[in-house]
């Protein structure tokens, strides 16, 4: 199965990478008052573009659409090569949405406003780049560029232990990505040895016929890089630290976009490139996935800091993506992709909620919270929907992905599916625990606290409008997943074509 290309008549993907970047330059040049509107407009345009692309994307046959290719470093056969298939496209859309939402949300940044928006805009450009790049070096460049603004975002606008968290985030992911780089370079060189072609293009590397042991090695190298980013157990400890310390919008991006890069990498690279190794490592990945699901669910419930709880829940959900991916069948991969989208929405919403709570009550600790529901009904409703979507309630987005992933897994390993399915229970436990501890039990509040509560305001319009898109799409995906699955079906088939044939 060789992918075909449908070259874009207009470099629309490059433009969507450039828009945030140019916006960053404009913000850099102007004063900080216009930073936010410019950012919102820029990300809005990107969101509009990606939505448009989703609508005009032709899901029937697998081909890379809106494809562009320019020479970059001809000495190495490196080029700037962008294009989308459904997987990229949905991820780009998710990225655009997440950034749009974050920008709307970021109203009360007082400190270094310009730098804040510049960091986010550059981050957006890099994130989109990661998802549309088909050249491995370009991919890696975008992949790493993202670290810098994220490091600054956590480190500058974070909370008390931000420095530790930012450094840990940076070094940990840097560690992982270097192994990714080695793997990529190894593939590249092996491709040269076997095919006498110097190219870092995804499609050229797809045709490398690797000997078994090398396949295992390269699989592991790439997997290490992605696993840190996902993060898979036991490489996950940077995530709670980073999430806890990051500012709200940073957490949203971290959860909604950055984590997807790891799983995106697994789906995009590990499966098609290393079909045999994927089969070999299926049990390992299943084990890690199941551990991630159950163990981190336990971690989540042990937390008193609500952001850390949500962070652990992210790891848990990523476990689903892992097992779905490595079920190596259509349902599994479809499930993994849908879970990625859904997790982007739900965790984004949950972090927004955490941010909302912090802005109103100035604490993330459960012992200081509780009993909010009565005072902020609109927020409580949206938060409840997000929580339920995260817990995988049918009708909301979370269920679709989990269902498909479990279905795929079930066909391969019943035990895995049984254990992973436990997340229905443990997942519900920690999400409801979170909700209860923040929203319910007003009677436990002291008199003074109640007095403080009576002043808190419900969602203001910025917050509402950043919350709503996420929630709406939770419903959209949950009630009509067919559209989404049809969109990604051919992509999943392509991803699996070496494994299942066809």
């Amino acid at each position: 199965m060789t992918p075909t290309f449908e070259t874009a008549s207009f470099p629309i993907l490059s433009v969507s990478i450039l828009i945030p970047f140019v916006a960053a330059l404009i913000v850099f040049a102007l004063n900080e008052k216009v930073a936010k509107p410019i950012s919102i407009v820029a990300s809005g345009i990107v969101l509009a573009i990606s939505s448009y692309l989703m609508l005009v994307y032709d899901p029937k046959d697998y081909k890379i659409q809106f494809y562009e290719k320019y020479e970059w470093i001809p000495q190495f056969g490196i080029s700037y090569e962008v294009g989308v298939d459904a997987l990229s496209l949905t991820m780009v859309w998710l990225t655009a949405l997440a950034f749009f939402v974050s920008f709307i949300w970021s109203t009360n940044i007082q400190n270094r406003v310009k730098e804040y928006f510049i960091s986010f805009l550059i981050l957006e450009a890099a994130c989109i780049g990661v998802f549309v790049a088909w050249d491995l070096v370009a991919f890696y460049v975008f992949w790493e560029v993202m670290l810098i603004p994220m490091f600054l975002i956590i480190g500058i606008w974070g909370y008390a232990e931000r420095l530790y968290a930012a450094t840990k985030f940076f070094i940990y992911t840097f560690f992982g990505s270097l192994f990714l780089l080695i793997g990529v370079v190894g593939m590249y060189i092996y491709n040269f040895y076997s095919n006498k072609v110097l190219s870092t293009s995804y499609f050229d590397l797809l045709n490398v016929d690797l000997p078994h042991n090398l396949e295992i090695v390269f699989f592991l190298l790439l997997a290490l890089g992605f696993a840190v980013k996902v993060p898979m157990w036991p490489f996950h400890t940077w995530l709670p630290a980073a999430h806890v310390q990051a500012p709200t919008a940073g957490s949203v991006i971290l959860a909604a976009v950055l984590l997807k890069m790891g799983t995106y990498g697994f789906v995009r690279f590990n499966l098609p490139w290393f079909p045999e190794a994927s089969k070999v490592f299926m049990p390992v990945m299943f084990t890690l996935g199941v551990i991630a699901i159950i163990y981190t669910a336990m971690m989540a419930i042990a937390q008193t800091h609500i952001k850390r709880l949500i962070a652990y829940s992210s790891v848990s959900h990523m476990g689903f993506v892992t097992i779905g991916t490595f079920a190596l069948n259509m349902e599994g991969v479809n499930g993994a992709i849908i879970t990625m989208i859904s997790h982007g929405l739900t965790s984004g919403a949950l972090f927004l909620a955490a941010g909302f709570i912090y802005e109103r009550l100035h604490s993330y600790e459960m012992k200081d919270l509780g009993g909010m529901a009565k005072f902020v009904p609109v927020f409580a409703t949206l938060f409840m929907i997000s929580v339920m979507a995260s817990a995988g309630l049918p009708g909301l987005s979370g269920f679709v992905g989990e269902f498909l992933a479990l279905l795929g897994t079930f066909k391969v390993s019943i035990l895995t599916a049984v254990l992973a399915g436990l997340s229905l229970v443990v997942g519900a436990a920690y999400t409801l625990w979170l909700y209860k501890k923040t929203m319910f039990e007003e009677e436990l509040l002291s008199e003074e606290r109640l007095k403080e509560y009576s002043h808190i305001k419900d969602l203001n319009s910025a917050e509402l409008w950043s919350f709503l898109p996420l929630v709406i799409f939770m419903f959209v995906i949950g009630t009509y997943p067919n559209w989404w699955v049809n969109l990604i079906n051919s992509t999943s088939a392509f991803v699996l074509h070496k494994i299942v044939g066809g």
Binding site: V137, E144, L147, G155, I156, I171, F174, L181, I182, Y188
Partner: protein
């Protein structure tokens, strides 16, 4: 007598035309030597130096690429011309910011200018030497000028101590190099690199290996690879900061170029000997450099150790022992010189300000006190760390490429781990700049030239990362030039 004459007559008339850049530099140096006696006008001297260097740099383009000249003691090929050019233009940046620094230290010697020019002359000779004698002389001219320059800070004991350490260890290094050259001479009967290659071809024996290893030790000492790096931190710290930039940037570049030329041209056929040798040195440099840098409070010293680590990265490319390796090492050396110079010049610019001690603490809140300079430093730090889209990443990419293509996995892993460790100290600076409140509100007094130079270098670092194709093409040309010289004979 007649016999001698016949030998000499065969040599022909030397073609001094190809020496124009060197002659310009020498002339300027000698002019300043005289002029300095009559004038105290530093700007004039500085301008003259820059003018001379610029002129020399331009003149490089007018030189016909040719064969060896001066009886085979001087080579004019793409490789030497390009490196000469690079040495000249990077030196200009140092001269440009030299005056304010030396004013602030109140340590003016007119000798600075021509000694720097002499050392640059030495570097130029080094990179265009097809012969161990020329190389040796160029190396020594550079080293001896640098010994003096390090110790030239007035009323500064540390400067003298650093210079003395540099001198003693450098002297020992010279002796070791000489011994290595002697053994190679004994083995092959010639100093000519190509001649050596012809003699050695594939029957390198104990003597040849001994010579080669000693030569490697000596060159490693000059390039400050562990465990022969000991002079580096002390000398770099002791030296006036622009001089540190000269040593850590330009001189390193010349040394790497020389190393590559010697290894490729003279020992191209014995890569199984030198590849592991450089690999061991590279690994040691990466480990020691990065680990120690982690514990430095003084940023200048930290950058020094980082430069040792970078020596490791650069030399690692040689461990692959193939064309990709040369390719990679040349590219990395070329981009590293910008980073290193920019880093040290950054310090030299800030050092002039009251209360700046080069300590990590001083960087706190720099992003608020001077956002543009902080941004430059940010780019430099991430470039040194090897994060795209900076040139540092492209350099490391090349290194990875060469290492993996040669299946030197262990070194690759060492590189990865030490790179990760290096993040510890680079990030510390970035974190201090961006994530702390300023410790003082005092305005920095920086000249426009300093800002422009540092800005230029860091933006260049960024641009070379975004679009490195030109430099890769140049490295490609240089590698071809080298390999062709080696193969042609």
């Amino acid at each position: 007598m007649g016999i001698l004459l016949s030998i000499v007559a065969d040599l022909g008339v030397p073609n001094f035309y190809v020496l124009i850049p060197e002659i310009i530099v020498l002339t300027v140096a000698l002019t300043i030597l005289v002029l300095e006696l009559f004038t105290k006008n530093k700007s004039l001297l500085s301008a003259l130096s820059i003018f001379g260097l610029g002129l020399a740099a331009i003149s490089v383009f007018f030189i016909q690429e040719g064969d060896k000249t001066l009886y085979g003691l001087y080579i004019v090929d793409t490789f030497s011309l390009w490196f000469k050019f690079l040495i000249l233009i990077t030196s200009i940046t140092i001269f440009a910011v030299f005056n304010p620094y030396i004013d602030s230290k109140r340590s003016y010697y007119g000798e600075h200018y021509y000694l720097m020019l002499f050392s640059i002359l030495g570097m130029m000779i080094m990179v265009s030497s097809p012969n161990l004698i020329t190389m040796y002389m160029g190396l020594e001219l550079m080293s001896i000028s640098l010994y003096i320059l390090v110790g030239l800070l007035k009323r500064d004991y540390k400067s003298k101590e650093g210079a003395f350490k540099y001198l003693i260890i450098g002297g020992a290094g010279t002796a070791i190099i000489s011994y290595g050259i002697a053994l190679i001479y004994g083995k092959t009967g010639t100093f000519d690199l190509i001649g050596i290659a012809l003699k050695l071809q594939d029957n390198i024996d104990v003597g040849g290996i001994g010579g080669l290893v000693l030569l490697i030790v000596g060159l490693a000492l000059k390039a400050s690879a562990v465990p022969f790096h000991f002079w580096t931190p002390d000398a770099y710290e002791a030296a006036p900061t622009p001089i540190t930039a000269l040593m850590g940037g330009v001189a390193k570049l010349a040394t790497y170029a020389t190393i590559v030329r010697v290894t490729v041209d003279a020992f191209g056929g014995s890569s199984e000997v030198w590849a592991p040798a450089w690999a061991v040195l590279a690994a040691a440099s990466m480990v020691v450099g990065n680990f120690i840098a982690l514990r430095q409070k003084d940023v200048k010293r930290m950058l020094t150790y980082s430069s040792i680590a970078h020596t490791g990265y650069i030399l690692a490319a040689l461990a692959s022992g193939n064309g990709v390796g040369f390719f990679a090492i040349l590219f990395y050396a070329m981009v590293y010189v910008f980073m290193a110079i920019a880093g040290f010049l950054f310090l030299s610019a800030f050092e002039r300000n009251e209360g700046w001690t080069n300590s990590v603490e001083d960087f706190k809140g720099l992003a608020k006190r001077h956002p543009i300079m902080a941004l430059y430093m940010l780019i430099l730090m991430f470039s040194m760390l090897g994060i795209p889209p900076t040139a540092g990443f492209m350099g490391k990419f090349g290194i990875f490429l060469s290492l993996i293509s040669a299946d030197v996995w262990w070194l690759t892993i060492v590189l990865v781990i030490t790179s990760v460790i290096s993040a510890g100290y680079y990030l510390r600076i970035v974190a201090n700049m961006y994530m702390y409140e300023p410790i003082s509100k005092a305005k920095f007094n920086l000249t426009q030239i300093e800002k422009a130079v540092i800005g230029f270098l860091s933006i260049l670092t960024l641009l070379l990362g975004v679009y490195p194709a030109i430099f890769w093409e140049i490295s490609n040309l240089l590698t071809n030039s080298l390999l062709m010289t080696a193969v042609a004979r």
